[in-house]
């Protein structure tokens, strides 16, 4: 009996081993095809999916496998795998919030060097985006710009009509605040607001200008006039009762879009896809898009693609990156699929930018975004952007919730930030 079991076991082991071998040889048969993994986060994967068939047709020797995880998980697992140096994807999609961190710490291929020579594409790609993908010290390109996202103001067309306001007259924050007052006065109840959250005023202003949290020497500038104004305006909106105190990405936030309880929402152009596709599809035709007040032209979102140093198929990874970032067709394909705005200048001449959108009552929003995108200054990135975002955001809460003095809050924040820059 025992020996029979032994034989049985041995046979099973052989079968399993053989199946592994066969599996292996099946891959070997299609020997010329290299499979590369591309790690991405939503909704970038929709963009990639939309262009993969074309890519596979043009590059039959490469097969792309997408690996998708949600925003935070994606970047965290990317870091873990790069630190461990194993199981890294061949192409890593990195969002703007993380890019300063990633390009300044190593772990990725230098795309300016041989065999990539990415610098030859520098003139083809929107300037500020290129700067963000380079390492501060060496000036080498680490992360190739994939898409940008101009900041923009989504507003309720129908509400403006009710108030008899003309979008062309709304040029400054003061104009918007005045209109917000009118809107709030249309009802007794507390359910008519200018913005969902006063913090979005700060979110908009902090991204403006040539520097965000740090200057070129890496010194924090969070007590500068920009931040004081951002805090003052947020506070004004809150104190006048012009915001609903509703955090983003909550059910209550979505319902402000559905019910038109807010006049406007500043965000990246990508938010349009979310509103249209799932947040409030039934509000089609009620939306309009305008440039941000006070002539602010800012980048709000966007992402990059990079090759980890430990990637197995760097050559094919680079072919894929070149295809998606330096060709008009895939850049436009991603834009159509998921509002992933091109970073390739040549793509801006595409006819898609002349088409009006039904969702925005026939407004040609893409041309507006394109025009805004061209005016975004070169904003620097810093490895401590992440920490600064948390600390200054917390200081804003102190001001909005606990009436802390603005200058005091910013000075405290700077002290905290300097402490953490170690």
């Amino acid at each position: 009996m025992f020996s029979k079991k032994g034989v049985l076991l041995t046979v099973m082991v052989f079968v399993m081993a053989a199946s592994l071998l066969f599996g292996g040889s099946a891959e070997l048969m299609a020997e010329d095809v290299t499979t590369i993994t591309v790690a991405a986060f939503p909704d970038q994967d929709s963009g990639f999916n939309a262009i993969l068939d074309d890519f596979h047709e043009k590059y039959p020797h490469i097969r792309v496998e997408l690996e998708v995880a949600d925003f935070d998980d994606h970047h965290q697992s990317l870091l873990t795998r790069i630190a461990a140096g194993s199981n890294v994807p061949d192409v890593a999609n990195v969002e703007i919030a993380f890019v300063g961190d990633f390009v300044n710490r190593g772990g990725f291929e230098n795309l300016s060097a041989e065999p990539y020579n990415a610098d030859r594409f520098q003139e083809d790609i929107i300037g500020y985006k290129w700067a963000q993908g380079t390492n501060e010290e060496t000036g080498n390109l680490i992360a190739m710009p994939l898409d940008i996202s101009p900041g923009t103001l989504f507003y309720r067309r129908d509400r403006l009509e009710e108030l008899g306001a003309d979008i062309d007259d709304l040029q400054t924050m003061e104009d918007w605040i005045a209109l917000g007052e009118e809107f709030a006065a249309t009802t007794e109840e507390d359910n008519r607001w200018l913005f969902a959250d006063a913090a979005s005023v700060y979110e908009m202003i902090r991204r403006a200008g040539d520097y965000q949290f740090f200057d070129d020497e890496g010194e924090p500038i969070i007590t500068s006039d920009k931040f004081v104004r951002a805090f003052e305006l947020s506070k004004e909106v809150r104190d006048r009762g012009l915001d609903g105190n509703i955090g983003e990405w909550t059910n209550e936030w979505y319902s402000t879009f559905q019910e038109g309880t807010i006049l406007a929402q500043p965000s990246g152009a990508w938010l349009g896809g979310h509103i249209q596709n799932w947040m409030a599809p039934e509000t089609a035709g009620k939306w309009g898009v305008a440039n941000l007040p006070d002539d602010m032209f800012i980048g709000w979102g966007g992402s990059f693609v990079a090759i980890p140093e430990d990637a197995e198929n760097k050559e094919e990874a680079w072919e894929f990156i070149q295809y998606v970032t330096t060709n008009v067709e895939p850049q436009i394909g991603q834009f159509e699929a998921a509002n992933i705005f091109p970073s390739l200048l040549a793509a801006f001449d595409h006819e898609i930018f002349e088409e009006p959108s039904d969702f925005y009552a026939g407004q040609n929003v893409r041309a507006l975004w394109l025009d805004a995108a061209k005016q975004i200054p070169e904003v620097n990135t810093n490895r401590y952007d992440n920490i600064a975002e948390d600390i200054v955001g917390d200081a804003l809460t102190e001001v909005l919730e606990n009436d802390k003095d603005i200058m005091q809050a910013l000075e405290d924040a700077e002290q905290l930030l300097r402490r953490r820059m170690r």
Partner: protein
């Protein structure tokens, strides 16, 4: 099929009787070494280094500890943790003990049904919980606020709300002072059933004869509970509270799903475990994060020892 068939392949692989037991229990230890012991030791090593997760590590001695012990946000997080700990641990055990006592009494039918129901939150997935509590605790669309607003129509309730300056609709997940109550409520809801099961098991070890003797002597339910049940349950309470200390001081998942990784408004929901996670994995300061983990561990040990002092002794053994 004869006995000499036993020799052959299988004999070669037959294990020595002295070795065999160790081989059989080895899977646990191998997994424990990789996923348990190694991370514990490695994070201890990390807590003396500065490391961003990618670049070179550099030894900094006790700098990380000095840094976090003088870090305002760290102490804020400790305060948040302790407040939530108190707000949830006390109701958890009071409810659990009461429910267990009622379920153990002879008055209740469908005991299994109730036991299962109370335990259900413990095994529900965090994502489902987050969705449900979002619906419950929403400011304008939340069920809890709708209920409270309806209750407010009653004059005594309205008076109560006015005295405490409790404005409706309440921002359960938006206002700093309420965030902690919301989190504590969720944790209590989730773990009361688990504690109840422990107490229920403990109650069943108390001999019936003691209760019968008490009844013969004419003791009331209250007397039975305070004079028999509670003293005999002391070791079980000790165990339950210790588990709560360990679990609730490391609170992470529940606040994370309710208010997000940044800890919500004013970091009111940022527990120490969340803060160390943010420091390590979001800010890439793994050394500081590891040091926090060890400081937190020391706090847990201290509290557990205090707890042992309070609850040691008692139980059936001392009868």
């Amino acid at each position: 099929m004869k006995s000499n068939n036993n020799s052959g392949i299988s004999d070669k692989f037959r294990l020595n009787k002295k070795v065999a037991p160790y081989v059989f229990i080895s899977p646990f230890f191998i997994l424990f070494l990789i996923f348990g012991l190694f991370p514990i030791l490695y994070s201890f090593f990390l807590s003396f280094n500065s490391w961003d997760g990618i670049g070179q590590m550099s030894f900094v001695g006790l700098d990380n500890y000095a840094y976090i012990l003088t870090d305002g946000w760290f102490w804020d997080s400790v305060q948040t943790t302790v407040i939530i700990f108190v707000l949830t641990t006390i109701p958890q055990h009071v409810f659990a003990l009461t429910l267990a006592f009622i379920l153990n009494s002879s008055y209740v039918k469908f005991k299994d049904f109730f036991r299962t129901s109370y335990f259900l939150p413990y095994i529900t997935s965090a994502v489902a919980i987050a969705l449900i509590f979002d619906v419950l605790l929403g400011t304008r669309s939340g069920l809890l606020n709708a209920f409270l607003i309806w209750m407010q129509q009653l004059p005594p309730i309205e008076f109560l709300f006015q005295t405490f300056q409790f404005d409706l609709p309440a921002r359960w997940l938006g206002e700093p002072r309420l965030i902690r109550f919301s989190i504590a409520g969720l944790v209590t809801w989730r773990f009361t059933g688990w504690n109840m099961l422990i107490y229920f098991a403990g109650l069943q070890t108390i001999p019936r004869s003691l209760y019968e003797a008490a009844r013969v002597d004419g003791a009331s339910i209250r007397q039975v509970f305070t004079k028999i049940t509670l003293p005999l349950l002391k070791p079980v309470i000790f165990f339950g509270v210790t588990m709560s200390i360990i679990g609730n001081l490391q609170l992470f998942q529940e606040p994370f799903v309710l208010v997000g990784g940044a800890g919500g408004t004013g970091r009111a929901g940022m527990t120490t475990a969340m803060y160390l996670f943010r420091t390590g994995f979001h800010w890439r300061q793994f050394g500081e994060g590891s040091a926090m983990a060890y400081v937190l561990c020391i706090f847990i040990i201290i509290l557990s020892l205090v707890n042992k002092k309070l609850f040691s002794g008692g139980g059936l053994n001392e009868l």
